[in-house]
């Protein structure tokens, strides 16, 4: 018996000793990322935590936020986004002018810009990038940024780019959100090569011209960008920027509190709210950023019989409920959705009520309905609209019937399982629709299944979201007939809208373009192919006890990003906080002391108990 006993005690004590040893080893090697403050001589590293993965850094194929974050730091655009209003500001191009006929733009570029491998960056690189975009037509937003009515894009000398078009346009100064790639590396690649190119291969840093350079990428785990000391707009004050991927938001927030990471852009309003309350105890500062994305509820608008139907819709056909093609039904649904409740109960107030597909942060182009135009929340009015349109409940089952077919107004409603709030939104909306006699069959599915349903036009309604560019061109294009089968949410197809889209592309000045874009938003707002439910805000948290220089460079203003900006202004001013950095580390080491003492007490109690029991048991044995 004794042997078992001894083994037990040895195991327990050993385990606890290991725990303590690890703890004290930590105490010595602690100051997790306070290498950031430069104390131990390691590189000054700013560490972001994210739960989003990066799939590609190919600038022609990027889609997701982490991808754009890396690209914006690794590459330059021809023009920057203005820090305040996101209009074109001097960058690689310092000035530009339009010819009097409006068909030719001449951009004058800096002559001191070098690629990260030392080669000079010239107008030829810009021409190469834009022409490749045009030639390869990758089917994503870049197609719309370098429009197909372009006649030619040429470098007339190393610092002059001439862009001619068939019709007058302001496209070259929106600015085009196309990262300039080095011709000396990619110049000989075919479109197929470019489509397949990983751009970052192991051990070879990605060559761009930006303030940072991607130097390491452990897929699915982390990626590292190293500062470019020769950046033309000045060297960053940090050595490295690193992104670490977590799979669990709670653990990520804990790491932020413990000082293991320095910054997060949170997707969860609940966790953000917690940090608003207790973040300052950990030296953290919370920041509510701009509403750059929206959530929408889309209706299946594909009607193969319609003379205006998009070709793709005619090809695939549609299983969408025809009742949803009746504007009265969609209008009634729109009046039955309480966006205010969604904003407060689902988004905890971190957002604003959705209206159009151009979010308010596109200050120049966002149109907001006023007065009689506003569609509010009014169940009675909604019921009235359906009554007037002849949708009565003929079989008295609580669900209205379609006067044409006699069928119940019951819609399939697809919700995303990948979205934290998808099913909550669905529950609210189904509840409201029930009050106006419309039934829903909700299905929560993964994105793969939703994409298939969407491709095949095999759905009635679904909820998803968009994060549009600062310039609205691309998001507006998603409602043109051409985009059905591409990026169109609904296969909406309307000749007037298509014409307005072309008109805004070729408007010769911003004021005219603004008016056309207002009309387009107004048209979508009254036609209701989809309902923009909310604009959700970026929720940022960073360790302000260690870092400074983020808050003086918020972009755009007034509500902008601290980090992950369209043009990286704050990345150049971010620096370790000078003298005040000791506060946080002392609080964490006192936390350690308390933890250590508590643990020691537990160990002592455990040992005493075990030894006492051992004595008793031996008595039993005797």
């Amino acid at each position: 018996m004794k042997r078992v006993h001894k083994g037990l005690i040895v195991a327990l004590v050993g385990g606890i000793a290991m725990l303590l040893a690890a703890g004290s080893a930590w105490a010595q090697s602690a100051t997790p990322s306070s290498t950031a403050t430069g104390g131990s001589g390691g590189p000054v590293t700013f560490i972001e935590g994210t739960i989003n993965d990066m799939r590609t850094v190919n600038p022609w194929k990027a889609l997701e936020t982490p991808e754009y974050e890396v690209l914006s730091l690794n590459f330059d655009l021809l023009e920057n986004f203005d820090k305040n209003n996101l209009q074109a500001a001097p960058g690689l191009a310092t000035s530009w002018e339009q010819s009097s006929d409006g068909l030719t733009w001449t951009m004058h570029m800096r002559d001191d810009v070098k690629w990260q491998d030392g080669q000079p960056l010239t107008a030829d690189d810009v021409a190469f990038t834009y022409n490749t975009t045009l030639k390869c037509s990758l089917g994503n937003s870049l197609d719309y940024l370098v429009p197909d009515f372009t006649k030619s894009i040429k470098a007339t000398d190393p610092t002059t780019l001439v862009w001619t078009t068939n019709v007058p346009t302001t496209a070259p100064i929106r600015p085009p959100w196309v990262y300039i790639a080095p011709e000396h590396i990619w110049g000989n690649s075919s479109c197929d090569d470019i489509k397949k190119a990983p751009f970052f291969e192991d051990g070879k840093p990605m060559i761009g011209s930006g303030p940072f350079q991607l130097t390491e990428w452990n897929k699915g785990e982390n990626w590292t960008m190293t500062a470019n000391p020769d950046y033309w707009a000045g060297a960053p004050h940090i050595d490295q920027f690193k992104v670490v991927k977590y799979n669990n938001s709670e653990a990520m927030v804990q790491a932020l509190k413990n000082g293991e990471i320095d910054y997060v852009n949170l997707g969860s309003v609940d966790l953000f709210n917690q940090l608003v309350n207790d973040g300052s105890n950990y030296g953290l500062t919370t920041h509510v950023g701009p509403a750059v994305s929206f959530g929408q509820m889309s209706f299946n608008m594909c009607d193969p019989q319609s003379p205006d139907a998009a070709p793709y819709c005619v090809k695939t056909g549609s299983t969408g409920n025809p009742a949803l093609r009746d504007p009265a039904v969609r209008t009634a649904i729109a009046w039955a959705i309480d966006k205010n409740t969604i904003l407060n109960n689902v988004l905890a107030g971190y957002g604003s009520m959705g209206t159009t597909i151009v979010p308010p942060f596109s200050q120049t182009y966002h149109w907001e309905p006023t007065g009689d135009q506003v569609i509010g929340f009014d169940i009675a009015r909604s019921n009235q609209i359906l009554d007037d349109a002849g949708y009565a409940d003929t079989d008295n089952d609580g669900i209205r019937n379609d006067p044409k077919t006699g069928d119940n107004l019951n819609f399939r409603f697809i919700l995303r399982s990948e979205s934290e709030i998808g099913s909550r939104l669905g529950d609210y909306i189904s509840g409201w629709l029930k009050q106006i006699g419309i039934g829903t069959t909700s299905e929560v599915v993964g994105d793969g299944k939703l994409v298939s349903a969407w491709y095949d036009n095999d759905y009635d309604m679904y909820i998803w979201g968009w994060g549009p560019d600062p310039d609205p061109d691309f998001i507006l294009s998603t409602f043109t007939s051409k985009q059905c089968g591409g990026w169109s949410d609904t296969c909406y197809s309307d000749p007037d809208y298509n014409k307005l889209y072309t008109d805004q592309q070729t408007a010769t000045n911003t004021a005219d373009r603004q008016q056309i874009i207002y009309q387009m938003q107004q048209k979508l707002y009254t036609d209701i192919p989809e309902i923009v439910l909310y604009y959700d805000k970026a929720l940022e948290v960073y360790n302000s006890s260690k870092w400074e220089g983020l808050e003086d460079n918020i972009s755009p203003t007034p509500e902008g990003f601290l980090w992950g900006q369209y043009t990286p202004y704050s990345a150049l001013t971010l620096a370790p906080r000078g003298t005040t950095s000791t506060a946080a580390s002392s609080s964490s080491s006192s936390g350690l002391l308390v933890g250590g003492i508590l643990l020691a007490i537990v160990v002592v109690i455990a040992i005493v108990l075990i030894v006492r029991r051992r004595g008793r048991n031996e008595e039993d044995l005797a």
Binding site: P32, D53, K242, N247, V445, G595
Partner: protein, 327 residues
């Protein structure tokens, strides 16, 4: 002669089971998969692909062949461990290289934690069965029931709250610090990051081993041959070591082998909670991004691992209990 036949028989069974499971996997991943994998892939690529290009990819992946032909290909590649390259999560890296890199991290976690939970669980179980109703037994019983009942992810989250949150003793996740540490600190760093996932897995499975070992020992202690041994005047220590424990170990060994599958699923959960980049996380990401080569690879290898664990259990069983061999 008996032993040889026994082993061969078991091997045959193993192979049949493997074929059956692979067939199921084929239907699971190739036939019943929701959505067209090529379309789903194209959609995630951020660039448009022409129908010709999509057809080329389809043919690259062997999806244009007839179903029976696909089945043959699938079985061939599965049995030769040649799962091709990853399609989404790490394009152009071979599935086996991804798996190897994840496995080295997972194995460290699985082996050390399983060992610890078996050793602690079995030792406590022996003690509990031997000294039933003692204070240690009673408290171990309560704790074991609790640990057995709590799902791994809840246990993991609790540990994050306590050890990473309140005491700030260990990091809340990852394999190592974002900025790698030099020299010996590097290994300490990895150890610190492994501490909480290790503790979670160890405790989660310890309870089960304790409970089974304890009850099986209790059964054995009621047997007549134990009374006989005691009646012959054999010392208690000897009764326990030579008569009771070896016989009581049998069900525990079965349990260890059977629970290997659960340990694997526990590893997926724990790696997810702690963002620990092993095979568990790899298979989760494969599922998330519909990288079906990686998904198939991890599935097949996990199946084989479980089957082998069971095979080893069968052999050990035969070694410990000669009756099994002869039967």
């Amino acid at each position: 002669m008996g032993t040889q036949r026994y082993v061969l028989g078991k091997l045959g069974q193993l192979f049949l089971t493997l074929l059956l499971i692979l067939t199921m996997a084929f239907f699971l991943f190739r036939v019943w998969q929701p959505g067209d994998p090529v379309q789903t892939w194209a959609r995630s690529q951020g660039a448009r692909y022409t129908p010709e290009q999509l057809a080329a990819i389809r043919s690259d992946w062997g999806l244009d062949k007839s179903l029976p032909q696909q089945y043959v290909d699938f079985m061939k590649s599965s049995l030769t461990f040649n799962f091709g390259t990853s399609t989404v999560i790490n394009p152009d890296a071979s599935v086996s290289s991804l798996f190897a890199s994840g496995m080295s991290k997972s194995l460290l976690l699985i082996l050390t934690s399983t060992m610890a939970s078996i050793v602690i669980g079995v030792l406590l179980g022996i003690y509990g069965g031997w000294r039933r109703q003692s204070k240690l037994d009673n408290s171990a019983m309560g704790v074991s029931m609790l640990l057995y009942a709590i799902p791994e992810f809840v246990l993991g989250m609790i540990f994050i709250l306590i050890f990473a949150g309140v005491f700030q003793l260990f990091p809340s996740g990852l394999y190592q610090s974002p900025v790698a540490k030099p020299g010996l600190d590097h290994y300490i760093d990895i150890g610190r990051h492994m501490a909480l996932p290790w503790l979670t897995l160890t405790l989660a499975f310890m309870g089960e081993f304790y409970l089974v070992m304890r009850s099986s020992l209790l059964d054995v202690l009621g047997e007549e041959y134990i009374s006989l041994a005691r009646a012959k005047g054999v010392r208690e220590k000897y009764v326990l070591r030579r008569h009771a424990v070896p016989n009581a170990l049998l069900p525990t060994i079965t349990l260890v082998a059977l629970s290997f599958g659960f340990i694997l699923s526990g590893v997926i959960t724990v790696e997810l909670v702690f963002s620990y980049p092993g095979v568990g996380l790899l298979s989760y990401r494969a599922l998330q991004f519909r990288d079906f080569n990686v998904l198939t690879g991890t599935f097949v290898i996990a199946v084989i691992a479980v089957l082998i664990a069971n095979f080893i259990a069968d052999l050990t069983y035969g070694y410990l209990d000669p009756r099994v061999r002869r039967a």
